[in-house]
């Protein structure tokens, strides 16, 4: 057992963790932040993507120990005051949500991507999205959604 402190969606948390626990384990099991999804066990689907200190990470292969003193944002932290985040809105508007299981991870990926640089080109968007598997959409609407999100964010 080891005690760590970190912020999740702006709220300070203290938690005891076991060495084998991943960030995904503690988000889901200890804080009930089940919006972050588990799709695999080897970091290859992106469903578990969250933001740690501004970077999109795959929380299933990110040791919980490493978030000590870090700032974590999950899908639950995006909508503010009952308003959807523009990326969330764009994914809906472009029809990019089918089963929705890949959606939180993809939204977090785009959140980090656009936060770092809102002027990324299509190739860079595709590069970021290629870390994510979606079995439903054939990706067309997800790419459209990403571009629409970029537009919404620029208009803001």
């Amino acid at each position: 057992m080891e005690k760590i402190n970190f912020k999740v969606n702006g709220v300070l948390k203290t938690v005891e963790i076991e060495g084998y626990e991943s960030l995904l384990d503690i988000l889901r099991e200890k804080f009930n932040l089940t919006g972050t999804k588990r799709g695999c066990d080897d970091g290859s689907c992106g469903a578990c993507t969250v933001i740690v200190n501004g970077e999109a990470v795959k929380s299933c292969i990110f040791s919980a120990k490493k978030v000590d003193n870090a700032e974590v944002i999950t899908i639950e932290g995006l909508a503010k005051n009952g308003e959807l985040h523009p990326i969330q809105k764009a994914m809906i508007d472009s029809g990019a949500v089918q089963c929705g299981y890949c959606t939180p991870g993809i939204i977090m990926e785009l959140y980090s991507l656009f936060n770092k640089n809102l002027d990324v080109d299509e190739e860079q968007i595709i590069e970021a999205l290629s870390k994510h598997l979606c079995r439903c959409t054939g990706y067309e609407s997800i790419l459209d959604g990403a571009k629409l999100a970029q537009k919404y964010l620029k208009e803001k």
Partner: protein, 779 residues
């Protein structure tokens, strides 16, 4: 043009906000007080006798409350053939089968303890391919084959590994052989694949002390689970309550009863406690249902002028260690002969036991294997006859008064294959093909497709429509939303039919057999057609009841009244009316006396005259509602890497009536992508010991955004279907059907090599290209 308010509009999904905010609750998100966790032990051998199981060490581990084995298991289960054991009893038949399980307080403790269970096995020969388990000297995988209960139409062959033999016979086949002037043939193979939803399958089972049983599952078949669990545990079905939360994709393998019986068996040993098991990604591959594994030997005979005469096929389907979930897929692959009329057919299907995980539904349900064979052979036949491939096809397309191989007569409202085919011809084939250059070979391919639901003849979908006091409406149905968007379709159809603002229509969000109307299962691309029809019926009943109430309120005969969504008024004098809100709880007169019914209505709908196959000929009304389509592609093959790049993939479907264009396009391109995966990338690989060597997303690699076609084109044809709501047809599975044959036909067009097997990897492509170049150089 029609003046619909909601049909044909891009209404946004009612569940999207919950999904983008992370609030949608999927199976693994559910926590129940006192919940325990199961971990399942699977064997190291794919076929072996169990000699002994020692659980004593595991029982002593931290957090362990119980260790369960199959030793005392007295039942088998299954919907079609009861050949499945919830946990292995005296032998194991595939790696991935449950041998024992630990129930513990945390998933971690359960995992640690399961490693301590010791099992002794005696190995038996392993077969991973139907052709091997069919050999004369093959050991039996099921000694009891033939003794298990099965649906009356099945024919298991005792003392063999054949779980079912099905034959379709149309016409006197001896005549067929005499009449045909040209014959083409091929042996096709669709290797094992996986639906691979991003959400792994999982179940929670809770046996209560009062003999009620609760199940939560990421399944699309709550009613089947309810019946099956009730039968197994000898309780009334009404004692079994099945909850279905959000489902993170299905594509087939979360249908039928799969892991639910195993988790229930485990939980039955801990009465009073909910027990949860969620597959790891690896277990999702090894221990739920996989797909495909179908070899087809096919011959097509024709006259010299291109008139088709016969089709003959033998389907050898490796359906894995248990055949319950695979048997209907073999049958579908066998009686499917594509979009053409064949005067004669002799098609035989063998459902064969193998030591691989059980095969279950996977988008296309066997139709894709037959389409691969038929559509490749049509191209080959055209070449042999020196005919244009479209001319050959057009000559033989099913149209008015032609007959399907199953004997059903084609009706014009079944759709228009020619229009679909023309659309693809225009998009893909009208322009000049680029010439081979330094880097690439270029090719174009085509395939025509058709599919009907493969269902049960009593399959139906129930609906309950309730008017609320403020005139808003709640719709409750039993259809499982897996991402296909049925909730949006429900809202649109209800709003259109009831003439009510769509904002006031609420669609159910989860299924709970305690409240949900009965639905057989949400499979076979049937929801829009059947569910939509049920919904219209319920809406019409509700309107009729409103009219009854209005007739009491206005003291006038019902037929003098008209409904417009807000009020009911006198046809000849609209100034005399009563508001809907004043009718929904009955009509209250000024003195408080209330008359009339509360406005709620139930209904259901099935496919009219859908039947079982005839025991002799295999024919029957096995389709009823068809969707026709055509698909085509432009590809490039990279000479250096062997990679097949898809520059354009075009699909045209006769959808009857488009209900929601954005959702429909999403279904089609999503299906095409699954088809591309199966054609170029995805294969579950078993070694000769029956071990799956790539049970991870990193090794079972399905397409990412980088493999997306450079362009998707989608065309909708709208020939109204008479039984579908507003003329609509089903579409869920159809987009995968033509992908493999279209790509393989394009590969022939590019390099002149006929391929018969999918997937075709880029390594294999590269070899083919090298051989080709050598051939050209005359080496």
């Amino acid at each position: 043009m029609s003046n619909y308010s909601y049909i044909g509009k891009n209404i946004k999904r009612p569940d999207a906000v919950n999904k983008v905010t992370g609030k949608a609750i999927f199976l693994d998100d559910i926590k129940i007080p006192n919940m325990l966790y199961a971990e399942i032990l699977t064997p190291p051998y794919a076929h072996a006798k169990i000699l002994s199981i020692d659980t004593s060490e595991a029982e002593k581990m931290e957090g362990v409350v119980k260790v369960v084995t199959g030793k005392n298991c007295k039942f088998t289960y299954g919907d079609c053939i009861k050949d499945r054991y919830p946990m292995a009893v005296d032998k194991v038949r595939y790696i991935g089968e449950a041998v024992a399980a630990v129930i513990a307080d945390t998933p971690h403790n359960a995992k640690q303890a399961v490693k301590k269970i010791k099992v002794e096995y005696e190995k038996l020969p392993v077969y991973t391919d139907a052709l091997d388990s069919l050999k004369d000297d093959a050991v039996l995988i099921h000694e009891k084959n033939g003794e298990y209960w099965h649906l009356p139409s099945y024919k298991p062959i005792p003392n063999t590994n054949i779980a079912n033999y099905y034959v379709l016979k149309k016409g006197n086949f001896d005549e067929a052989l005499k009449e045909a002037e040209v014959v083409v043939e091929g042996e096709f193979n669709t290797k094992f694949g996986s639906s691979s939803a991003i959400e792994p399958h999982g179940t929670i089972a809770w046996f209560h002390e009062d003999n009620t049983i609760e199940i939560w599952s990421s399944s699309i078949c709550p009613a089947i689970i309810q019946d099956d669990i009730a039968r197994t545990y000898g309780v009334p079905a009404s004692n079994v309550r099945v909850h279905i939360p959000e489902i993170g994709g299905c594509f087939g393998y979360k249908s039928d009863v799969t892991i639910e019986q195993t988790v229930a068996y485990i939980a039955s040993h801990m009465k009073g406690y909910p027990v949860k098991w969620v597959a790891s990604r690896k277990e999702d591959y090894t221990s739920s249902l996989i797909g495909h594994g179908a070899r087809i030997k096919m011959k097509i005979g024709a006259k010299r002028d291109g008139q088709l005469v016969f089709i003959q096929s033998k389907v050898y389907h490796s359906t894995g260690a248990y055949a319950d979930t695979g048997v209907n897929i073999t049958m579908a692959a066998t009686h499917t002969v594509g979009v053409y009329e064949f005067p004669y057919a002799l098609c035989e299907g063998y459902t064969v036991y193998t030591n691989t995980p059980p095969v279950g539904a996977f988008r296309g349900y066997g139709y894709q294997y037959a389409h691969l064979a038929v559509e490749r052979l049509m191209d080959i036949l055209a070449r042999k006859l020196g005919m244009d491939k479209f001319e050959l096809r057009e000559k033989n397309y099913l149209r008015k008064d032609k007959k399907f191989a199953t004997g059903e007569v084609f009706n014009e409202d079944y759709g228009d294959i020619k229009k679909c085919s023309d659309a693809i011809k225009n998009i893909i084939f009208e322009k000049e093909k680029p010439k081979e250059d330094e880097n690439y070979f270029y090719g174009r391919g085509f395939a025509a497709v058709v599919k009907a639901p493969k269902g049960a003849s009593n399959s139906s979908k129930g609906c309950y429509v309730k008017f609320n006091g403020d005139g808003s409406v709640s719709v409750n149905m039993g259809g499982a939303e897996v991402g296909q968007g049925l909730r949006t379709v429900i809202q649109q159809i209800a709003a259109e039919t009831l003439k009510i603002d769509i904002e006031k229509i609420h669609c159910y969000t989860e299924i709970d057999t305690q409240y949900s109307p009965w639905e057989w299962q949400t499979i076979g691309s049937m929801f829009t057609v059947q569910g939509g029809r049920a919904l219209i019926r319920a809406c019409e009943k509700a309107i009729d009841k409103l009219l009854e109430n209005a007739s009491l309120a206005l003291r006038v005969d019902k037929d003098m009244l008209e409904y417009d969504g807000e009020k009911i008024f006198l046809k000849h004098n609209p100034n005399i009316f009563v508001k809907i809100v004043d009718l929904v709880r009955g009509y209250m007169h000024e003195d408080g006396v209330t008359v009339g019914e509360v406005i709620q209505a139930t209904s259901d709908a099935r496919l009219p005259r859908y039947s079982n196959p005839d025991p002799e000929t295999g024919m029957g009304n096995l389709g009823v509602s068809y969707t026709f389509g055509a698909q085509g592609c432009e590809i490039r093959i990279d000479k250096k890497t062997g990679e097949v790049i898809i520059d354009n993939f075009a699909s045209a479907f006769d959808i009857g009536k488009v209900i929601n264009p954005v959702q429909l396009r999403g279904q089609i391109v999503g299906g095409v992508m699954i088809g591309i995966g199966g054609t170029l990338y995805e294969e579950l690989k078993f070694n000769k010991d029956g071990r799956l060597i790539n049970p991870h997303f990193s090794s079972y690699r399905f397409p990412t955004i980088k493999e997306m076609p450079k362009k998707y084109e989608v065309v909708f044809i709208e020939t109204p279907e008479s039984i579908g709501p507003y003329g609509a047809r089903g579409i869920g599975e159809h987009p995968v059907l033509g992908v493999a044959p279209a790509i393989l036909n394009a590969i022939y067009d590019a390099i002149g090599v006929d391929l018969y097997e999918v997937p075709i990897s880029k390594e294999k492509m590269l070899e083919l290209i090298k051989d080709k170049t050598k051939e050209k150089a005359g080496v």
